[in-house]
Symmetry: C2
Subunit: 103 residues, 2 copies
């Protein structure tokens, strides 16, 4: 059983927006901090700039997050609209994957 086997059925493609929204709801962060947190959780290398910034841009364009420059970095945090979207998405997520966290 190789590491690849796990990825084959769970690469989590498509969950990036949700994961970002969730992480930012716990703590506003700048892009690289966020990328590091994602890398930690997934046990992979940091998602590339071409992954993280377009994802953030998309969330901003949906009105889910706002950006605030803080020195060299930009801190991203949820809007109220983002909080609501996350709440709905979490509900669906929990319902869909109910039981996975057991055992």
């Amino acid at each position: 059983m190789t590491k690849e086997d796990a990825r084959d059925c769970c690469d989590m493609r498509g969950m990036l927006g949700f994961l970002i929204l969730f992480l930012l709801s716990k703590k506003p962060m700048h892009g690289q901090e966020l990328a590091g947190e994602i890398a930690n959780r997934k046990g992979e290398k940091k998602p590339s700039p071409g992954t993280i910034y377009p994802a953030l841009k998309s969330l901003r364009e949906s009105g889910f997050i706002v950006e605030e420059r803080d020195g060299k970095t930009i801190v991203y945090s949820l809007t109220e609209r983002g909080e609501n979207a996350l709440k709905l998405a979490k509900r669906k997520f929990v319902k869909t994957f109910f039981g996975v966290f057991q055992d």
Copy 2:
């Protein structure tokens, strides 16, 4: 806040293989039964045949599931290899989404 907002950040694209593997680990099922279970959990209509059967085929080709004809239907269940892959995938999933199930 519309229903679309939730999908925008959590359509779970890419998690189908994982979800199928998880569901079959709880109970061997045939394709349509599986599709129904997925529909229930996601609160959507049943994934189309063009979604579910290629996904099952892929899992079979990876050696994660086996098929056994039972009258009109085919019952899918996990192989040992599938069990192991699921265990690894669950570990990663839990680590990645730790905290989402809280509150």
